[in-house]
Point group: C2
Chain length 150, copies 2
Amino acid sequence: MSHKNHIMKAFKTAYKGPPDLNKLLSVAVGLFILTLSFAKNAMAQEKNQMIRLAKIEVDPSQLEKYNAVLKEQMTTAVRMEPGVLTYYAVADKNDPSNITILEIYADSAAYKSHIETPHFKKYKETVKDMVKSLKLIDVTLIGSAKKPGM
Amino acid sequence: MSHKNHIMKAFKTAYKGPPDLNKLLSVAVGLFILTLSFAKNAMAQEKNQMIRLAKIEVDPSQLEKYNAVLKEQMTTAVRMEPGVLTYYAVADKNDPSNITILEIYADSAAYKSHIETPHFKKYKETVKDMVKSLKLIDVTLIGSAKKPGM
């Protein structure tokens, strides 16, 4: 915080108004620096994210069971692991056994820890005879936009 | 709300405790019914959603420009259109000109209205010589899980 103190001192030296205004100025400068540092952190966090598309072809006769197990894996991982951020799993309308999952982890360490958890290992073991093919595509985020609460 | 009143009356008849407990019970029953009706609405809303994967191959020499125009389209649509809910645009790490967009609209009417907006038409016109191929895949949501605020 020495950076912040320096800037506040500089402002105080330049500005010789009444003390209450001085205080206000200190608070405003503090808030400005805090905002900048939050924004910087948020950007750094986003930069480290590990994002992936998983393309999965499921045995059609076991699709219902597979979807249930997948949903359980997703909700458990997001609830229990701090670094598992987002999952969207969708199925082609024309062929619901063709599944695409968008996966967002805080960073690659979070992913490495994820695949060692009991719930992920249980998922892998349960679905091993349901999954006909699996393709993992590493991607980067171009951008996202969401309504609040979505 | 006549449904709610009926249920509350039935509870009051069955339960002859002191008046303050009666009041508490009314509030609890009211909240329970309200929660049920919210959950029902949320499920109905999700059922109507139109979800799509757009697979776009972009001219590599125009990729930077395309990504900027795409981001502008996504943020404008989510900000201005009540029925445009979610966009995630990602690029293959091994070939950033291969782009996948997950699109969620409130319903098909929201999508139809979206493609008639000036900002979408402007986007389409701007990118028409940047996009080498476009494949639209209608999908259904198997499930999603997200950290709060993601």
